[in-house]
Amino acid sequence: MDEVVSSAAGTACAPGVAVRYGPARAAGVWHHLAELQDDRLAVAVGRSTDPALVDRLSSEIGAVLRATGDPVAATAVAAASPAGGPAAARVICAVIDRPAARLTYSSVGDIQLVVAVPEATHTVLDPAVGRPASVQLQPATTVLLCTVEPGEDAACAAELLAASATMHPDQAADRIIGTLAGLPIAVVALLYRHAPAPMSLTVPAVPSSLATVRSRLRHWLALTGADSETAADALLAVGEAASNAAEHAVLGAVHDVELTVRAAVAGARLLFTVSDNGCWKTPSESSGHRGHGIRLIKALVDEAHLASGERGTTVEMSKEWRQ
């Protein structure tokens, strides 16, 4: 995936990423987004007082980012720009190493980069002009790259980000740009939501546990920024698998049966596992009800696999992480 956009109301992009421009036909601002090798994401936003610079800078910076994965080398393109130098261009480039949970960035000009964690606290990062800086990303951290001026507007963006830290990235971006679009200058805001920590929950395999499972999973799905359809399908698929465990796994068991639900983000997929340590009853004995549940699950997720044995049943599901 590779995307260079100089003006758009909202653009399709990578999982966990939302980009918004304001006003809708903003001129002079741009963003760049590219997937690099090893599950890294390169992002850049910029603003230039010289509109002629916008296309050239966005494409040159994008090319350097893709080729080197180095935010300092990419921002150096703007610093070396003959048309007015750094004063004419504000650029921030960042590379997010998803497996290492590390954000490396560098900037030119006065420009804003903020991170917020779900606990609704935020940090305005050091601009790191002409040099690399990096921060470790906690699970579910939201990163905002925004072309507003430092000072009041940036503080406003930071407050908005902190207040949106558990919202879906699209909603958070809409809210931030909805407020910032009132500014007289063009603004681009790029949000990145880091994957939340995997969820793991073990409860007794009884019907009254199902509400607990759904409550925890709803919260986790919201943190991933999955779209409402994806979240609803995943909730139902996992709920169905858990319901099957609560209904069937306990039959014939002489011990207390437990149900474990796991959820994790892996690349561009959401993975779910529902396992129990109960007794598998053959489908014929359960009059097809369990079979019905499995059919429903298969219709809701991209891949579903059921394995059962004397030690219990495990249902593994995966679904595209759409947002």
Binding site: S208, L210, A211, A232, L235, H289, H292, G293
Partner: protein, 107 residues
């Protein structure tokens, strides 16, 4: 959406003026309360040949609820009110319940 995850509330409107009784369901229906759902439907039905179940207030339901509705549709003229979008419509389509009950979309 209700914050009382896992709880369901049922409201029954008796038959009147030729209209069948209506069971309105709110919240989450799952294995934990599906028996109550079935009892509520049976109680509301009484001698009526038809029953309407208003699912527009449902936040979550799974195949346990679908089985209860299939059971009702086997002996009764069943009408379901649903929201235009959402997982209930998905569930009705996948389970095939939309072929044995009359589904009416309510905005």
């Amino acid at each position: 959406m209700t914050d009382q995850t896992g709880t369901a509330r049922f409201a029954v409107t008796p038959a009147s003026g030729g209209q069948p009784p209506v069971v309105a369901v709110f919240g989450d229906v799952d294995l934990a309360n599906v028996a109550e759902f079935e009892e509520t439907m049976a109680g509301a039905l009484g001698d009526s040949p038809a029953l309407t179940v208003d699912l527009t207030g449902v936040d979550y339901s799974d195949s346990a609820a679908m089985r209860a509705l299939f059971g009702m549709a086997a002996t009764t003229k069943l009408t379901l009110w649903v929201r235009p979008a959402g997982h209930i419509k998905t569930l009705l389509g996948i389970s095939g319940l939309d072929r044995v009950a009359t589904v009416i979309t309510k905005v």
